[in-house]
């Protein structure tokens, strides 16, 4: 994939997910909890692209998300950067591509993201980790992200992986 294609596909993917999150689909609530598609995209990008790309895409996705929130600018960027990096730890596993494992990691990293968001939010005084729906939020966001992970892993692979290659783009360390 040429760098030009990467520069077109990635912003397109980010904007698409942002728009979907802020459209009617993002309004769906299960047990008073809304899905977090942007977090799922960050996790999928980490799984597909590795630690470095995961962190970078997490930062960009976080900045975009922060633009629509009243929370401190950079708060979501910080959370997504760390989540993207940790999801990218997948590249350390010395094994061939396993899609089921990729999807599970997206779900688990989403749970980590929700926890981190609550923890950091508590430190900054914008979130209460002990609020009533925290456990529900953790479960619902993780399960929804797990359910949509095939779509987002496909999207991340389309944006990050060179055409014709089925392997992750990151080098294993």
């Amino acid at each position: 994939m040429t760098s030009r294609l990467f520069l077109i596909r990635l912003p397109l993917l980010l904007i698409t997910v942002l728009v979907v999150q802020h459209s009617g689909i993002g309004d769906i609530s299960i047990q008073s909890v809304r899905p977090d598609f942007m977090l799922a995209l960050v996790c999928a990008s980490g799984v597909v692209g590795g630690r470095e790309k995961g962190a970078l895409i997490g930062f960009l996705a976080g900045i975009l998300t922060d633009s629509f929130l009243v929370t401190p600018f950079g708060f979501t960027a910080l959370v997504y950067t760390i989540v993207g990096y940790l999801a990218g730890e997948m590249e350390r596993l010395d094994q061939e591509q396993n899609r089921i494992l990729d999807y599970l990691v997206v779900g688990a990293a989403s749970a980590l993201g929700v926890s981190l968001e609550s923890g950091l939010g508590f430190l900054l005084g914008v979130h209460d980790p002990l609020r009533r729906i925290f456990v529900t939020e953790l479960a619902v966001v993780s399960l929804i992200n797990l359910a949509i992970s095939p779509l987002l892993v496909f999207g991340a692979r389309f944006s990050l992986v060179p055409q014709g290659s089925e392997r992750r783009i990151s080098s294993r360390r």
């Binding site: 728009v19 802020h22 993002g26 609530s29 590795g50 600018f73 760390i82 914008v126």
Partner: protein, 276 residues
Amino acid sequence: MLKLFARPRITLLLLVLASMSLVTLNYRGGAKFSFVSIKAAVRDVVSPVRSTANGIFRPVGNFFTGAFEYGSTKAKLAQVQNELDQLKLVQYSQLDAQRQLDQLLTLSKIQFAQGIPSIEAQVVGQTPTNIQLSFELNKGSSQGVKLGMVVVGGSGLAGRVVAVSSGTSTVLMLSDPNFVAGVRYGKGGNIALATGQGVNLPLKLGLIDPGSNIRVGQVLVTSGLQGEIYPAGIPVGVVSSVSNPIGGLQEQVLVKPLVNYSNLQFVKILEWAPPA
């Protein structure tokens, strides 16, 4: 040593530092490093695309919401039908009461009823995150909307403007955990504090001493005390449950907001500033 300073870790470190710098500038930068214009620019770019996508995805979202909440939706429908029947019965008897109320409001000096200048706006979407419960309006700074302005829906208080761009503004909902408003209840106008608890959850009422005269069904209005950011007399919600835990220092009171965000389409932004 080499592994410690591997490229991904340096990238992570730089991005974390960048994020933390942004957060720090938010808190310490003051007006010099305000990110409001950046946020507004991003919103202005994305808003047209989002409006189009809303039209496409809204039915899909409604379908899934209906599927997931079929039971509660059916129960709500039955409840609404029942309430509608009751309202039809009392409608005519209330016409006279309404006339009297209008006269009383004209005579009294309630700020809200005296007619605060307002801007009509349309709700163009909700902010679908679990961190912040807010919705967006199609009016912004170019139409005169300013930070802190109070927003009222069809039946009561809907929220407060917390972000403004040139063409849109964001309103913090009553249900947001950061929402706090001073309210009055009962004939004596007792004061309490209403706090949001989350999506579709009732407001929590604080500062209610055990044995107070608060009852289910009482309507709460904003107190409008000095320093309060809402004008006095705006209906906020109806007391939905009152319990007095053994040994509790205050009664546990839950309040159902009067405004229904799921079908809120048009609102009024009150051009009102809290008294100094």
